[in-house]
Subunit: 252 residues, 2 copies
DNA sequence: ATCATAGTCGTCTGCCTGACGATAAACACT
DNA sequence: AGTGTTTATCGTCAGGCAGACGACTATGAT
């Protein structure tokens, strides 16, 4: 099968981003409002075209920086204290997913600590953090009473896949720390797990588990009382990336 | 950011396949010999262009059928007794991965039972099952004494990613049964795990574990002695797709 | 001073796993 | 027919880990 330039159809290739964070005990995703058709005025995942000289990961990192100001974590530098975790999620290429032309989208998943307000070209009303349940529910009404329209394109599916990836990946990796600030307490980490999984965890067993897993947490020596109650030790993420044995997600 | 057709570069989109099977106690992958430049004469993963009206999964299933005659498993029909497991693996889009033009390849992973000979356009010398270690080793000499050239393009990386996916996925899913014929014994399933992981497992503990996991195996009532020794019960894959608790891969 | 809140340390029990002995049922020899 | 070899299958036991939960500690709020 020779590579005849006329033998293959041209595609547009984009990256779409599932950017997740934990705000007010809820797992939230970044959504941007579409300014032009199709799906004008509807919420969508941030994304854009891959440039001619760009790797897919570079394109995703560039879009992430444009939308949030976050730098992507360099996987070669663990325990970096700024920047978000970024990884490829999956690729979506249904011929009809974009009504205008053939677009293949390489979706990426980014995990970030709680951030200030999002920005999308400086216009705050065109970008927001929304709880993932709200973005994924079909129809109905959101918390503000406004009717909820489904996400544009196949972005509901992409978001659902990204959420599922995050939920399963914090089981066997230290990725939950990507939702935390550089220094955090065991309780803050536990609230991340509770928000992502949507369950309540026993604080005592959770404490025993995470402090007993070698390389997961490194004490910094400091303490904080920002959550109220007894001061809690502060930790940084340790060098371990894979947790063995894993954290166990409680049964449904 | 409007969709100006002149605002994005055109890409070629291909699917590449990591087709794995277990032959003679070794994890093997399907490789095809390239008939034209670049990398003419070198081994590569099977693959081809995505057509204009095709979904990515359809394209992968079509290539799989062309190369092996296998029909892909329909995920909606569990416990299907013919066809291979097929899932998307990852997407590779380095600007220089193909020296001729910008190609984005959506790699897929297929798992199949031991098959007769592969076919590639009817020419058997242009397709073969090779142990993955042989395909992944850089330089050196293969079992037949011929010098081993690395796989074409970035296919060594793709193959390595596919093998790693398979190794981890049989831990927590029933996917190892995809390497087995429709009816199989516990010993045959154990040899799949041993080949994929490259370890030896205790037959007694393995038997206890897999027969004690609800929904993993369903006895068919028959027995076989094709492995020699005492006749073994035959099983089919049960409805369970996720194993909880998972199979544990022994430490390095 | 008392209460509420959150963090931390222990205990106990049940389940799962790894290590390994023992038995069973076939085949290949002699 | 007997003996050895191979593979399958059942059982036992000890160690480790997780869930349930009691107890104590250290802060701020009333």
């Amino acid at each position: 099968m020779p590579y005849d330039p006329s033998a293959f159809p041209p595609f547009a290739v984009t990256v779409d981003l599932v950017v997740l964070t934990v705000r007010r005990h809820a797992l939230c995703a970044l959504a941007v409002r579409r300014g032009e058709p199709p799906f004008q005025g509807r919420w969508a995942l941030p994304g854009g075209f891959v440039r001619a000289d760009e790797d897919l990961t570079q394109a995703a990192a560039r879009e992430l920086a444009e939308e949030t100001g976050l730098r992507a974590h360099d996987p070669a530098v663990p325990a970096q204290d700024n920047g978000a975790h970024l990884e490829q999620l999956a690729t979506y290429g249904d011929p009809k997913r974009d009504p205008r032309m053939r677009v293949v989208s390489v979706a990426h998943l980014a995990l970030a600590p709680d951030l200030p307000a999002p920005r999308a070209g400086g216009d705050a009303s065109n970008a927001r953090w929304a709880p993932v349940e709200e973005l994924l529910q079909q129809g109905g009404y959101g918390r503000d009473g406004e009717p909820v329209a489904p996400l544009a394109f196949d972005h509901a599916q992409i978001l659902a896949d990204g959420v599922e990836r995050a939920r399963s990946k914090i089981e066997y990796s230290s990725l939950a720390t990507a939702f935390c600030p550089p220094e955090f307490t065991v309780g803050e980490l536990r609230r991340v797990y509770e928000a992502v999984w949507g369950v309540a965890l026993d604080p005592r067993n959770f404490h025993r588990k995470v402090t007993g897993t070698p390389g997961f947490l490194v004490p910094t020596g400091g303490t904080t009382t920002r959550q109220g109650g007894r001061p809690a030790q502060l930790f940084r993420a340790g060098g371990a990336t894979l947790l063995n044995p894993p954290m166990l997600r409680p049964e449904v």
